[in-house]
Subunit: 412 residues, 2 copies
């Protein structure tokens, strides 16, 4: 059997008849190069939102099982249309739905997890020299009901299918050229990364990089499936996401991310005694509010202050919970600040280089940018700063870590 | 188990969010009256055309299997939305696709025939007091691929399901009040029929009555399933289509139909010898042109004329075929006339009454309407007339057969 590539095309790539025809040409080209192709498609751009809107106009609590039937229609439509387009240009193709590809999930409608993929029918078509076009985002549960995989579900379908079919790689075709060192709208000389490790990509996805969902990268890492993010509009090689190569020098910082969608809540003057923080954060967890960074000041006169960050969407819920809990913890003041942002540097090379965080702080300080909070992981440093400094901080750090050239060496 | 009614809602009835909510209210009302309900839905009005349009923009010969996947999405969307609407008003409901209802078809994509319906899952939900909302128009073939049933397929799904579930009746909810004696736009005092036989309805459907497709009526007749055509906008009883009651006086003429979508081809001066007509009509049949009426003149000097009618859509193809065959049959002239119409009277009472055709001819003659061709069946008389007389002929015949009162007696 020829080497197999699984390509995933997002909603924008199949967003119109012309786009679908262009994707068909691209797939036909890949076929001509001698490769087998499985194309996983999302719904045409805008369709999922349109279907959801109708459901919400009918009910403010639409039945989850029915939402899945509704939403899965979008990918069925785009997969049928792409298959028609492929056959029209003489590239033999066949569509398979989530059920037909044998994608079994658990029963959690609208956010199902993949249990297994059979893929037998897909293999039979590949052996008969067909391109197989797969409706992404969907599977079936044990009752034979349609389920959907939640946000980024088509990416996850694609990676899971690539693993099941033992593909050589899984390509995520999108409207950008790959993963960049920084947002090119903010940093004009941001550079497209040629290669990045799963761990770095996981950090970046966790920090809000929209190009790949966390779950899809986790899946790829787990099964060591090489992932490529590339544009569906050109043939540039894109960014390869794979295991770190221990023989290769790692750039210290691979990327800079910023996230303006952050808010800080400060609870001042609470008694510094065991259980206070637990009460607060338990309440938030029970209300499904994800807390990101937390700092607690050094106690003064038996009292302390606690600050933490949440996404702006969770701010209102978080304030409600904190005010409720305050009946027990008796803080002096509770305040919220939504005009902050999180700026992060990510790089596998941090593991073997010291002074990375120091250079970050020093750079921000030189620009008179105050750091409100800090958090670190083995391959990441994040700082909370005033939102108005976001772009300035991003550009300066990109410069300071000399990220426009590859590989980046930390200045000593 | 409570008595079961299968209701089919057409595309207009579920054509918008408001319409879907109204249908949900109606179903809930039927449930409150103590009946079990299975609701079969078409795609939202316009959606099937929109999907087809996209397919045809991509290819002038879209893959049939993919067309079925594409088109079946429309009914999945409407069934999910109606189920959400039912649950939102507290009427427990669940959707089932063609596959989930166990509707097995043959392999003829885009015009599949039903082989069997399992319906077990549907019964289980009915036993649990659910309304079952079924995506009409679709089934699966032996490979597990989606098939669609062709024009009027949702009506056929509904009747087949009513038979499989042993329903007390099958209601076709639409945007008219029922079956009328004549087109109310042409004959203001046209009357809604309370009851009509399967055979009469079959003739009417064959003559172009859009309210019910031939195939659905055939199915209902075969399994003796009472069919009711009624409005989805009011609670009027509609028209019952069932077996003729031999104890009841039949109206001589139940309805008058007209069809302007007719064209006549006349082949003049062909040799009057065996095989000429066979050559002509074989060629037409092979080109899938349906010929309706045929007349052949009495031979004069070894030559004869043949006239026949086709629908206007088939006129161009028919002329192409006739001109091709003419290389063998050597007619003097071949001409076409698209400005004709077919006017028909249908009534089971004709079986036991003579003089019906005579009254029809006499009435048309009195109005100076020339009859170009005639065809009859046991319960139908059709005349081809000049298209411009269509409305006049319809009104006059409605009057002559005294159809505004029920039951109609033939004037002796």
């Amino acid at each position: 059997m020829a080497s197999l590539v699984v390509q995933k095309y997002g909603g924008t790539s199949v967003g119109s008849i012309d786009h679908i025809k262009r994707v068909a040409e691209r797939i036909a080209e890949t076929r001509r190069s001698g490769k087998d192709v499985v194309a996983v498609v999302s719904a045409m751009a805008g369709q999922t939102d349109q279907l959801l809107k109708m459901a919400w106009e009918i009910s403010d609590a639409p039945t989850q099982r029915e939402l899945d039937l509704l939403l899965s229609s979008g990918e069925r439509i785009s997969s049928a249309l792409l298959t028609i387009a492929l056959n029209a240009i003489g590239c033999q193709a066949v569509s398979l739905t989530g059920r037909q590809i044998g994608l079994q999930t658990d029963n959690k409608h609208t956010r199902a997890r993949i249990k297994q993929i059979d893929g037998e029918r897909c293999k039979r078509y590949l052996e008969k020299n067909h391109v197989v076009v797969v409706a992404g985002f969907q599977g079936v549960n044990e009752h034979g009901d349609v389920t959907t995989l939640g946000r980024g579900g088509s990416d996850t379908s694609a990676v899971a299918l690539a693993v099941a079919l033992n593909a050589e790689q899984c390509e995520i075709l999108t409207d950008v050229d790959g993963v960049f060192t920084a947002d090119p709208r903010v940093v004009p000389d941001a550079r497209k990364l040629e290669i990045i490790s799963y761990d770095e990509m996981l950090e970046m996805s966790g920090l809000g990089a929209k190009v790949l969902q966390l779950r899809c990268v986790e899946f790829a890492k787990k099964y060591q499936m090489p992932l490529i993010v590339r544009s569906s509009y050109n043939n540039h090689p894109g960014t390869l996401i794979s295991e770190e190569d221990p023989n290769m020098e790692q750039p210290v910082v691979s990327g800079i991310m910023y996230d303006k969608n952050q808010a800080k809540i400060t609870v001042k003057g609470v008694p510094d005694q065991p259980g206070i923080a637990a009460k607060l954060f338990n309440a938030l967890a029970e209300a499904s509010v994800s807390v990101d960074m937390i700092i607690q000041n050094i106690s003064e006169e038996g009292h302390t202050d606690i600050s933490f960050t949440v996404t702006t969407e969770h701010l209102a819920d978080a304030m409600t919970e904190v005010n409720k809990v305050n009946e027990e913890i008796n803080a002096e003041t509770i305040s919220a600040d939504a005009s902050i942002s999180k700026i992060s540097i990510v790089g596998a090379g941090m593991r073997s280089h010291s002074g990375v965080a120091a250079l970050m702080f020093q750079t921000l300080s030189r620009e008179n940018i105050n750091i409100l909070m800090i958090s670190t992981s083995e391959i990441k440093v994040s700082c909370i700063i005033d939102e108005k400094h976001t772009e300035q901080a991003t550009s300066t750090l990109h410069e300071a870590f000399d990220m426009k050239t590859d590989p980046v060496q930390i200045p000593q």
